[in-house]
Amino acid sequence: MTVQELPGAGASHRSTQPPAWSPRTDAAPLLPDPEPYRVLGTEAADRLDPELMRRCYAELVRGRRYNAQATALTKQGRLAVYPSTVGQEACEIAAALVLEEQDWLFPSYRDTLAAVARGLDPVQALTLLRGDWHTGYDPREHRIAPLSTPLATQLPHAVGLAHAARLRGDDVVALAMVGDGGTSEGDFHEALNFAAVWQAPVVFLVQNNGFAISVPLAKQTAAPTLAHKAVGYGMPGRLVDGNDVAAMHEVLSEAVRRARAGGGPTLIEAVTYRMEAHTNADDATRYRGDAEVEAWKAHDPVDLLERELTARGIIDEAAIRAVRDDAEAMAAALREGMNADPVVDPTDLFAHVYAEQTDRLREQAAMLRAELEAEGRE
């Protein structure tokens, strides 16, 4: 029996037409370009702002040195763990530099460098990873949310904060950072959906560094690119070379400008590569080959910028040396700060659970005090 032969088939059951339907948004302008946007090494580099690029270069070199120092501190046992951003410094630096003072940064656990580049004291930024307290700074003072360890859960916070600021009439943009693995989480989806529906002034920056610990992007998503996901929520998606700090700065700035002007959120996928293991606890040789790592080494964010700026006469040997000296000084200060044993106060355990301590916690605090006193007597 064919469909035409089915009882009731034909004109009768089509006597009514479905209500007229049309897409609510034209998808085409939201789609990312097929190739990641690049500036360095292209004609677009002719319009580089020398002042800005010198700053970016200095921050990149500092960032590289910061990464090296933090990794060294894990080997000395001064940090419990450090998720390196070697290779991703352009993303971290650009994210910090595009924000105004009143704006907010929502970093993931990997984004300590972005927090430092935004002006946070490196020792405070590393408190979580050193283990003396979860957040070593006042988020309101720096407008940097606590480093978020659960994946993508900080993204809805960024949306809520940006939404609240707009309700209050304040000029505030929130920039939220997440990795490629984090885009698989439900909170990523919900945050993007809320942001688009509310037209919240938020910029979502996905650092696609190739791997979620060991799982490659191909096993993470079947989307053409992560930037394509934007279309489903009704916001523009941008694909950018995450190792090209000039491109990162330009694309992020444009998204921040758009958000500030009331144009709503943007999803940016920065295509980059994690040169080191997920953390010092991970063995990257188990899931990727040397050839791949070597290929990315040739596309190093610091080298890319250094070559371009040198060729254009924006920096010279002396400037490079000055920048490196400055980075060394930063590393020395960080070493000194981290080599001092942190003072941990056991009473902190009970101090910040509730505004007012409960009887239960008072009882437990007294128990701990007695234990400490007994230890002191021994």
């Binding site: 859960t153 909170d187 509730y354």
Partner: protein, 322 residues
């Protein structure tokens, strides 16, 4: 009770422009139980917001709003619909004050209609309080009377800490027709109240089980038992002193709640009462709880929910012959 809850939000919003109500269907519809009825009309959609249907997103956005100085009141629509928001609740809402050493408290009220007895189909009748009370950093309160619905919700919205506000669904339509014998002072968070004084034993309960306990106490008079009934009102903090005083006076205690017994709040309460009242107790602390089963279908729920008979049978077991 429904009107008292609405009124509490309305008054809080009128007094404090930072109070924002948000959730699925809370705006135009006024909530599926109409608890937010009229708020969007009176305060605008920016203060009473219909959100996309996503509990983690709702609570996660509320976290960001609270970070910026607002006081969000979030509706979770039904007990079992709140579970997608658990990661936000446990990893961020409950911990933000602690993570930031007090720099960033989150004054969020999370309203969760909970419990059974309304003939709801599955995923609409869970008693989820054990999950919440096991999470440090949250306050957990549940009103059982119309006065407390108003007073506790006002106190929750005013609190600088996150509060899980459990609304007993089957009491939504209760009027003040079962007047408690004890005076109904507007409580702060963390204060239990003796709803009925007695001498033979103490029933310790909260939320939807309070009316059942009061009814059982009346029925017990015929058996010669004069039961005291303590309404906890707040599970975290737990007002141990009020409970302990009562049990020391009566010498016997039964904890009553709808949630399953194993790992339920009653287990904790019984343990604490035993620790502090051991020498005053004439019998072990017993519990009357829901069975340790997934919430049953509507036609079977009456067998699951602790009722007057089960309470009386348990009270009878407190009488040791030797």
């Amino acid at each position: 009770m429904a009107q008292a809850l609405t009124r509490a939000m309305r008054d809080a919003m009128a007094e404090d422009p930072t109070v924002h109500v948000m959730g699925e269907d809370v705006g135009t519809l006024g909530g599926v139980f109409r608890i937010t009825d009229g708020l969007a009309k009176e305060f605008g959609e920016e203060r009473c917001t219909d959100t996309p249907l996503a509990e983690a997103g709702i609570l996660g956005a509320a976290v960001g709003m609270a970070m910026y100085g607002l006081r969000p009141v979030v509706e979770m629509q039904f007990d079992a619909f709140a579970y997608p928001a658990f990661e936000q609740l446990i990893s961020h809402v409950a911990k933000m004050r602690n993570r930031t050493r007090g720099a960033m408290p989150l004054p969020i009220t999370i309203r969760v209609p909970y419990g059974g007895g309304i003939g709801g189909v599955e995923h609409h009748c869970d008693s989820s309080e054990a999950y919440y009370v096991a999470t440090p950093g949250l306050h957990v309160v549940t009103p059982a009377t119309v006065e407390d619905a108003y007073g506790l919700l006002r106190a929750s919205i005013a609190s600088d800490d996150p509060v899980v506000f459990l609304e007993p669904k089957r009491l939504y339509w209760s009027k003040a027709d079962w007047r408690p014998e004890a005076p109904a002072a507007v409580p702060g968070i963390g204060k239990a109240l003796v709803r009925r004084t007695g001498t033979s034993a103490t029933l310790i309960t909260y939320g939807p089980s309070l009316p059942v306990c009061l009814e059982a106490a009346e029925a017990a008079r015929e058996e010669g038992w004069d039961l005291e009934v303590v309404d906890l009102r707040s599970l975290v903090p737990f007002d141990e002193d009020t409970v302990v005083e009562s049990v020391r006076r009566t010498g016997r205690a039964v904890v009553v709640h709808e949630a399953g017994g194993f790992g339920g709040p009653g287990a904790e309460i019984a343990a604490r009462v035993t620790e502090r009242c051991f020498h005053h107790l004439e019998a072990p602390v017993l519990r009357v709880t829901g069975f340790d089963i997934p919430y049953p279908p509507p036609m079977l729920e009456k067998h699951h929910l602790p009722g007057v008979d089960r309470i009386l049978d348990t009270v009878a077991r407190l009488q040791w012959e030797n």
